[in-house]
Symmetry: C2
Subunit: 495 residues, 2 copies
């Protein structure tokens, strides 16, 4: 190591560049040759698989079933909901042909033009609505609660690995209900499932709240969001849940015969989290030495690093593999402890695992084998801090150690969020807080709800309303106009 930290630049020096370097150093993802599309590498995808597992479990526990709907959406479907198409028209990948033929110059060209262009789904309300309209006939068919894990495409001009890519992976829940109350209860339930799962598994607490009208999902009546605060004070919208009213039901014809004999439109919801959440996790947990994987979704919990010297190599390796065998017998949050033995001859492997953020590092040399001891390092503690333990002690403390790391990550984030949420009571302070070039955090202010004012602040300062926090209920006076404000809202710069 020629620098003090494994990642150059540090967060302090250049946060945006630090982020890119962490993704690269942790070997989680990379840009592909296809504009805006990423390759998710095994270490990043392993994280996503665990994220999927914990969310999927919650969805199933709350009565949702997985299904799969077509990738391609007819253009005319998108047009059915006016606000919705406005929101997505500018970033749609359009399929216009269904084969290739020789172009006469030794290459190929598109051929077989489609009668109607097809859009690669940017989200599936319209295509799933078509199915729902067929599946739902009577109040007995409601609620209908479906989820889909899939890829979606939004043609982004400026992309950043995980945070904003043209193609990304996500889940989209779609439900239909007999009345508004039931649909709103679902919208609410899913937002809290997002909030709790992000905190309890991803070690990422967020601010739950409602979006302002201008920040809502295109076509929604209400959008709820989990806003995560990054280490640089900016916001990431980590998950959203939408109450869609009867907008999409009317567009797709989702009707049912109610108990009272009346034909009614259903009330629908949709909700999603995506690989974008991984970007938020990186900017929440990673440090100047690289990624820090939250233990309950880490691609692996433990790496064992044998220190191999020619005359003792066999003995040390045997010890490591037998240690692994014992460790993988233990369960932690519904999954066997995942252990990697890195016996490569790469001298930088210790640092590689720090950069990858594996929660626990165990070093074993010939002396340790003789003494039946191991040396344990925990990723959220300074890398020089190592504890010497017997194998029995290690076995006994493993789940507690992982829990301790999880709790420390949560506590650290909560502390940062507490410090970073700044109550501001005058317009002047607000402008100063968000002045150009400054590392601002979240401003909690009274605002009259005016969309034109919101738009002008976005233009002037690059800040947006992130959410109307559920925890804020006190009315007051708008700091910009002095008008009535029903509650404080969060303004912040955002990714």
């Amino acid at each position: 190591m020629t620098t003090k930290t494994a990642i150059t630049p540090t967060r302090q020096e250049n946060f945006a560049e630090w982020y890119q370097q962490v993704v690269k150093a942790a070997d989680m993802a990379e840009n592909s040759v296809v504009r805006g599309c990423m390759v998710i590498k095994p270490w990043g995808y392993g994280l996503w698989e665990n994220i999927q597992r914990v969310f999927d479990k919650r969805f199933k526990e709350t009565g949702h079933s997985n299904a799969y709907f077509p990738l391609l959406i007819p253009l005319s479907f998108l047009e059915k909901e006016a606000d919705h198409v406005d929101g997505f028209a500018k970033e749609c990948a359009v399929v216009t042909h269904h084969r290739l033929v020789a172009d006469g110059k030794g290459g190929l060209k598109p051929d077989g033009e489609l009668e109607e262009p097809l859009i690669i789904r940017p989200t599936s309300e319209t295509i799933i609505g078509e199915s729902f309209a067929k599946w739902i006939q009577s109040y007995r068919d409601l609620p209908l609660k479906i989820n889909q894990w899939c890829n979606v495409m939004r043609w982004e001009m400026r992309t950043r690995l995980f945070l904003r890519t043209s193609e990304f992976l996500w889940q989209e829940g779609h439900t239909a209900h007999a009345d508004e109350a039931d649909a709103r209860a679902e919208t609410d339930q899913m937002l809290w499932i997002y909030h709790d799962t992000m905190r309890d598994y991803l070690a990422m607490p967020t601010f739950p709240g409602a979006k302002s009208p201008s920040e809502r999902f295109a076509g929604a009546v209400d959008t709820y969001t989990c806003e995560a605060m990054m280490q640089d004070g900016k916001a990431v919208q980590a998950g959203t849940s939408h109450y869609l009213g009867q907008n999409f039901a009317k567009a797709a014809g989702i009707q049912f015969l109610d108990k009272d004999g009346q034909q009614k439109f259903a009330h629908t919801t949709s909700w999603g989290v995506s690989t974008r959440m991984i970007g938020a996790m990186i900017m929440t947990h990673a440090d100047d030495d690289g990624m820090v994987m939250p233990p309950r979704v880490a691609p692996a919990h433990v790496v064992i690093i044998p220190m191999l010297k020619p005359d003792t190599a066999d003995k040390v390796l045997d010890f490591c593999h037998s240690l692994k065998k014992q460790l993988v017998e233990q369960q932690y949050y519904g999954r066997n402890i995942d252990v990697i033995v890195d016996a490569s001859d790469d001298r930088g492997r210790g640092w590689n695992w720090i950069k990858k953020g594996v929660p626990l590092r165990i070093e074993v040399g010939a002396r340790e084998v003789e003494q039946g001891m191991v040396s344990l390092g925990r990723r959220d503690l300074p890398h020089t801090e190592k504890r010497s333990l017997t194998v029995a002690e290690l076995m006994a403390c493993l789940p507690q150690e992982l829990d301790a790391m999880h709790n420390a990550l949560v506590a650290k984030s909560l502390e940062r969020m507490k410090k970073g949420l700044v109550e501001i009571s005058t317009k002047e302070e607000f402008y100063k807080f968000f002045a150009e070039g400054k590392d601002s955090t979240f401003a909690l202010v009274h605002w009259n709800g005016d969309a034109a004012l919101e738009a002008s602040l976005k233009q002037e300062l690059g800040v947006t309303t992130r959410c109307l926090p559920f925890a804020e209920k006190t009315p007051g006076k708008c700091i910009f106009t002095g008008e009535h404000s029903p509650q404080r809202v969060i303004f912040a710069k955002a990714y």
Copy 2:
């Protein structure tokens, strides 16, 4: 029930139409408005999730990691491997634009033409090859063993749910190796993993073997296949594993510095199974009453059907839910027993569950509750055959009962395959065997390997070589030409 069977027509009456009716009656999938794309409904997707789980486990146990690569492939990439592009050019969905704008007639039209058209992946050798070329520098980076679960698109003109759809779900394994022997060992290993997993989990034995040159994957040096025999005697290619030689490595530039200091091209493989396998499972297991779910991948193992009468309904329901609680504590092949209580007032629900193929049906009425008994039906036995058991007996026999059903399904398939594999020794017999309108099965014959002969048989009789079975090793004389034949091959009509 007005007919003797739940499905009309029966297999005997019209196999193709019976298949469609089973998929519909079991509520597994349906056609979407998008040509050739299907909607996989929860009962079908639940099956797919379990299939994914059992295959994924085997892939990971054999050292493969999951990753994710872009959906879209630049046209120029596809062109790099000549045989490959020939194989897929006629069925590619082509993205040519990246946004929509008003068409001046109140609608929208594609806009923002791309400099280079992008293809929705029909398979990912070319785009994954691009990554492999970057990731692989030295022999130390080999073998590289990656798998991807994703959707792919092949624009099919004639589609059939699960069996042949324009979009389908699959996994594609892609590996790179230092030499031919290692790559061939991988190709072989994965074929046997497919074969064994299909038999041991999907209860679907298959004929493993090699494809003839004309039936190989576009760009492969060798293709191995698992050919399943349907109840009508036709074949379904249920999974394939390809040794790609250095073809794709040369096209993508996958080179490494070997131990001997030489720069060499890697040897690559690819292998895949898809939702098509579900179509094969249906035509293997289903009967004239509907789907029969193999217990080890069934979306649910058990349905409990309470017989509710006003005065005893509460007691019966309590009994059923408490029974469910006990059952779900048990594990079967790495997963808790999955139990559905269907307390709906649908009088056809008993038949619905038969049509859906749930392995075990438990009926509970007031009398059963009093006696602490349940009535058990097993899907592969006649639906009138029910056994009366105490709860303790049921708990004790559950895994055995599921195993018994699995074994019975396997035995039935093996019996059919044994009967259906007919050794044919003359050209005349062969033509008679495959005469038009006849329900032919698999013909095992000596053939000289001539591709022109193979093509003419395909044209005349609609039969193709399905595989050169690994189990066949005896040379002989071609039944068409009298020339040398290194081993017997299987000819059959195929889906």
